[in-house]
Symmetry: C2
Subunit: 254 residues, 2 copies
């Protein structure tokens, strides 16, 4: 079988193109098995390595999974919008729902939320110090969370606070506080007056890929929220969201 693309593209890209088309048109349905490396190498009369290059290309694009021995590779399901962060800002309620209310939103979607929390005192990483407007290396309280949905890792989050006002508060307690961070900060005399959200994307580093159990070719959304009280920034919260399971959503008045 010859590739559809007769041009001067490399062989493995022609094969990858055929497979992309087959996936796009549903010939290879989501969750279905992808042709094996041997299969492709015979059908296209190429070496196994060349067929493999086509498949790894698709895996890096996130279209198919890596193989697991006898199970082979599968067309990745596009469970889009499995999770949604929503920033609602109704003219009446002025309620700001951020990345904190994971548990709430997850439960509302009929799924089981869970989280592990570690609390520690750390030297401020550069990008945190900058945003919290403190010297780099300053001691900060760091709350590290791993969010789980239905038992599977879902997101990584880190929140940073100045040590000075976190002392003796639930912020230093490695247990969830249920009323939301904004409410807690307000009680501590740091009512949030505005927030700045920075959103970027990149490939996960190996540690993140491991903890989040994401396969090859799945980029992450990095969401950084800076909360400002009257006197300045009081909180920097970063959230790492696997791109295949998450969507950020902002609902705003026009």
């Amino acid at each position: 079988m010859a590739a559809v693309d007769g041009g001067d593209n490399p062989l493995y890209q022609q094969i990858a193109g055929d497979l992309r088309a087959a996936i796009r048109e549903g010939v290879l349905p989501p969750g279905g098995k992808v042709p094996t490396e041997m299969d492709l190498s015979q059908r296209y009369s190429v070496s196994r390595n060349t067929a493999r290059m086509a498949l790894t290309a698709l895996a890096h694009e996130g279209l198919i999974t890596a193989g697991r021995a006898r199970a082979g590779r599968l067309v990745r399901r596009r469970e889009q919008l499995v999770w949604t962060h929503r920033v609602s800002l109704s003219a009446v309620g002025r309620r700001l729902a951020g990345t904190d209310d994971f548990a709430e939103q997850t439960a509302a979607q009929g799924r089981v939320p869970d989280q592990t929390i570690e609390v520690g005192i750390v030297a401020a990483p550069g990008f945190v110090a900058e945003r919290l407007e403190v010297p780099a290396g300053e001691s900060l309280v760091a709350r590290r969370r791993l969010y789980l949905v239905d038992g599977a890792p879902s997101a990584l989050a880190e929140s940073y606070y100045a040590l000075s006002f976190a002392q003796g508060t639930p912020l230093l307690d490695p247990r969830p506080y249920h009323r939301g961070t904004a409410a807690l900060l307000a009680e501590l005399g740091h009512k949030t007056v505005r927030t700045a959200d920075e959103i970027t994307t990149r490939m996960p580093d190996p540690a993140e890929a491991l903890r989040l159990e994401i396969g090859h070719g799945v980029p992450v959304l990095a969401h950084v929220r800076i909360s400002y009280a009257e006197r300045g920034p009081v909180r920097v919260a970063t959230t790492i969201l696997p791109g295949d399971r998450h969507q950020l959503r902002y609902d705003l008045p026009g």
Copy 2:
């Protein structure tokens, strides 16, 4: 030379780990040359293909560039935050600055904006039809933009409107309109009362990678804005932003 990691990790991952550390610690500075495949294969006593696997892994993580013949591979510069989309919502002005005012924001940063626009009538793609609340396949006006900054491709955008009210308006004219889309829609009797922004990330497909001139390992942000008038959705705008050059930012009151 042996890899630092003596564990049971694959050889190419040990080599990749060493290189990651060298980059992180500045031994291999941004913009500097990465050891060649032959170099690594000799230093670690592995085949060229194994050394190559380490390098392609780093390229897919976005840490180094692909090679260009004699130039070799370079440590990728982290020109973070080169471009920023900002959604300001001041209590006073209620000005909503979206992804439309590219030209404005680019010029404000002392860089030269440009864009090419194509306008056409297309059958509504599924995800657009759904959000615009029209039947799939319905004829829509599509405005496709390629944004350029300092002559280099910067972002891809597509906006969709119902054919019924785009007829005889600047929406069908393949030239920029300078007052902003919201203002234009308001003049046409479709004042925007709210917007919904959906933000996801994924790897680019080959066509996008080509048009945006992005290398391996650079994911994209996909930003979809739905604009609602009193009577319902009037506009669906998608923007594809290369992750290495863009940041989304939302400034919101607390």
